[in-house]
Amino acid sequence: MATTTVSLDKSLPRPRRRLPTWVYRLRRSPVGLIGAVIVTVVVVIAILAPTIAPLDPTKLNLGKRLLPPIWITGSDPTFLLGTDQLGRDMLSRLLWGSRISAVVGVAAVALSALIGVTLGLVSGFFGGWVDILISRALDSFMAIPFIVLALAVVSVLGGSLVNIIIVLGFTGWVSFARVVRGEVLTVRERDYVTAARSIGQRNRPILVRHILPNVIGSIIVLATLDVAVAIIAESSLSYLGLGVQPPTVTWGLMLADGRDHLATSWWLSTFPGLAISITVLGIIFLGDWLRDVLDPRLKK
């Protein structure tokens, strides 16, 4: 594998030899670059939120409710992006909100990926009745609209941060299982797998050492795009009043809470809405680019 890469790269003009290939590729794709930058910024904000947030995101200032952002008259310079209906600082809430939103997105997808990849690997590799069983389960889950299933599960578990992650995780695994199973079916018959099997390797090492690395590209792409889906789904659940409950801050909850103020205090929902849209855009750009790089077959 390694040799082919090198020979390929030699045929292309390369300005800086020492940079890893993916950096080079990223530089050639402005869209991918934008995506990567957005995602990096969001992750950095999420990590640094406690340090960079100017104020306490849960501190109420009942005398300073619904102040506009500083570029509008009637604002207060303490609150750069204005305040919400309880006089809390919008900027600090946005910064902290990135945290929980990111946690929800990443944790939910990690859970879906874990379930989906495991079932997909098992199903594709072993075949037989295991495959039939898992495939039928896949079809069943696919028949139920995602948000409907999520609603049904929330109705059982109730809405809280952990439950939302579980719900999104348990409803989102299908795409992983489907893709991984398909990949495994093609990889399974390759020479190196047959070779590994013929020298007496057991199933688990074959799966982990030979098959998983081949499907990891698709998994990364899917996971990236699914984070975007999870962030939007979290906000939709919040909109229906079934999401994370305050005082926990997520962008989705801020957007949902501010929706009744849209006509009057637009900043309440517009900022978190923009935050979601920009982040999701970044993730999509990054995901699309990753797909081009890692897994051209997924293109359709």
Binding site: L60, L62, Q85, G158, Q245, D260, T264, S265
Partner: protein, 568 residues
């Protein structure tokens, strides 16, 4: 390309097929066309008047402004079935059978379909004849009603003593009825004659008339009721000012004026009540002229409604009081409860730490601060408690907390998040308590989770926030939770608790109003001396109303259209 056409044809067919039967349209029933002209001459002098006695008088103030000049052909499309209004509510009833749904928004609809025996004048809190023309309290436990003669139900059945007895016996016979417990005060009912009926209560009942006008009091047509059984929830027949045209569950109820209404046919021919769950959508529908009336206009939208030339805002008090409940000790449903609020000093401190003025500001002035759940015009309401911000003394609260030896154990607080601003108020309370040094762990839940985990199993911890109404306008229900055998949520005990218990029991059966009033005032004092509930403010409701509609929200904010008028 030709092969593509089936795709479009199939889609088009589905669209057409589904569109062919839109929601039940209020197609003008035969009677409506003749009634419209007839209604016109009658309207100028039409405050609901009844034959012998003065009927529901001053139910809502009679239209003060003269009917505006008819707007030229405006909204002509809307008037096909006579005068019509559309009301937007967050929810509509789940059942049109009054004893099976007692949510406020259901009661509003029920009131228009069914009349009760007595009417409570919502402005003076006095009793007025309704389907009963007079009554007599023969002895402490016996009441005799004289019934209005010549009244017909919507289906033509005669209203008489049998109808009254059947209506209430049906509830008493079925403990599954949601209002069952509310009617068990009735021991028996006797038919004296076709138009005379006697009620015997189990104990002396000072709140008797209140209860007779309470939730689910609507008299139903007995022959029809027996015929349809449980289906009465979708096919209600009463004797109220409006009759049912159609009912689509969870979507809309369409009512039509009862031409034979004993107090005169209502001015508005059709009332359509729609469920629009989203506040933003509801306001948008009002602003765009799609609906004529909606309660609960959020404060941020007041200006937009006011600035609209076709709309006006009307503020109305509700009976709902927002209350912070405290737990003082374990109770039979939660025997192993332990918490810092078992210390009376901490409870005192909590009540001193609350700044009611700030809370009323937070809800944009949509509240009257109060230190009691009993609000005017209910008996026992007193200026000592009502419209009072109470004592706000954070310094004293801090001192008390210190005295109590508070060790920083957090107080657990629960609240549902369903009322306008409930979650905001809860978060503000949390901030106020933390300000005096109490640590509060807050848990804001959706309504069902709150009901299931906290409210219904009586598993409330130190604090919970809830709003309670009193549609009976009698103080008995406002203090009932602290009767010694009902303290599941408070676990209250001590000298104040014992005295309160005696008074609560005595007042509930005290037929002397003056004396009874004194008892309730003392109970309220006891509640404030050793607090297990901290009333915060009585809530207002804000209605957005089309200027064409002459209707003022009554004191309790109920949507009754018997005397509403519409200028075209």
């Amino acid at each position: 390309m030709r092969r593509l056409w089936p795709v479009f044809i199939v889609i088009a067919l589905i669209v057409v097929a589904c569109g062919g039967q839109p929601a039940p349209q209020p197609a003008a029933p035969p009677a409506a066309s003749t009634s419209a002209p007839a209604a016109k001459p009658a309207s100028p002098t039409e405050p609901p008047k009844a034959a012998p006695t003065e009927a529901p008088k001053a139910v809502a103030p009679a239209p003060t402004t003269a009917p505006a000049a008819p707007a030229p052909t405006q909204a002509a499309a809307k008037t096909t079935g006579g005068k019509k209004i559309v009301v937007g509510q967050a929810e509509i009833p789940t059942s049109l059978d009054p004893p099976t749904d007692w949510a406020i928004q259901a009661t509003w609809v029920h009131m228009n379909l069914f009349d009760c025996l007595v009417w409570r004048n919502r402005d003076t809190n006095e009793w007025a004849p309704y389907l009963a023309t007079s009554w007599q309290n023969i002895n402490e436990t016996t009441w005799r009603f004289k019934l209005r003669e010549g009244v017909e139900f919507h289906n033509g059945e005669k209203f008489n003593a049998d109808a009254v007895i059947w209506t209430y016996q049906r509830i008493l016979d079925d403990p599954k009825m949601i209002t069952y417990a509310q009617w068990t005060f009735i021991k028996e009912m006797k038919k004296i004659s076709d138009y005379e009926v006697e009620f015997v209560t189990k104990t002396p009942e000072p709140a008797f008339l209140s209860k007779m006008a309470g939730t689910g009091c609507g008299i139903q047509a007995p022959i029809h009721g027996k015929q349809v059984g449980a289906d009465v929830s979708t096919k209600p027949v009463g004797a109220g000012p409006y009759k049912l045209v159609s009912y689509t569950k969870g979507d809309r109820v369409i009512l039509q004026a009862n031409e034979k209404y004993w107090a005169g046919k209502p001015d508005i021919d059709t009332v359509e009540i729609r469920a629009i769950p989203e506040a933003a959508t509801r306001v948008a529908a009002l602003l765009s002229g799609q609906i004529d009336l909606t309660p609960a206009v959020p404060s941020q939208d007041w200006k937009r409604v006011q600035d609209n030339a076709n709309l006006k805002l009307e503020k109305a008090l509700t009976t709902q009081v927002m209350i912070l409940f405290l737990r003082a000790g374990p109770s039979s449903k939660y025997t192993d409860w332990k918490g810092v609020t078992s210390n009376a000093k901490i409870r005192q401190a909590i009540s001193l730490a609350i700044d009611r003025k700030a809370l009323v500001d937070l809800v944009d002035g949509m509240g009257v601060p109060t230190t009691s759940r009993i609000t005017p015009p209910t008996l026992g309401s007193d200026p000592k408690f009502y419209n009072q911000v109470g004592t706000y003394d954070p310094a004293k609260a801090r001192a008390l907390i210190k005295e109590a030896g508070y060790d920083g154990t957090p107080l657990r607080m629960h609240t549902a998040n369903y009322l306008l601003k409930q979650s905001e108020v809860a978060q503000a309370l949390q901030a106020m308590l933390q300000d005096v040094g109490l640590k509060v762990d807050m848990n804001i839940m959706d309504l069902t989770t709150f009901r299931e985990k906290i409210y219904v199993p009586y598993k409330n911890e130190e604090l919970y926030l809830e709003t309670l109404g009193n549609s009976f306008f009698d103080p008995w229900i406002a203090v009932l939770s602290e009767q010694s055998d009902r303290r599941e949520r408070s676990g209250w005990s001590g000298p104040q608790a014992d005295e309160a218990d005696k008074l609560i029991r005595a007042a509930a059966a005290n037929m002397n109003p003056e004396d009874r009033k004194k008892q309730y005032i003392r109970i309220q004092e006891l509640f404030n001396e050793d607090p297990v509930m901290v009333p915060l403010y009585q809530q207002y409701d804000m209605f957005g109303i089309s200027k064409k509609l002459q209707w003022k929200p009554p004191l309790d904010g109920f949507l009754w259209f018997g005397n509403a008028k519409l200028t075209q």
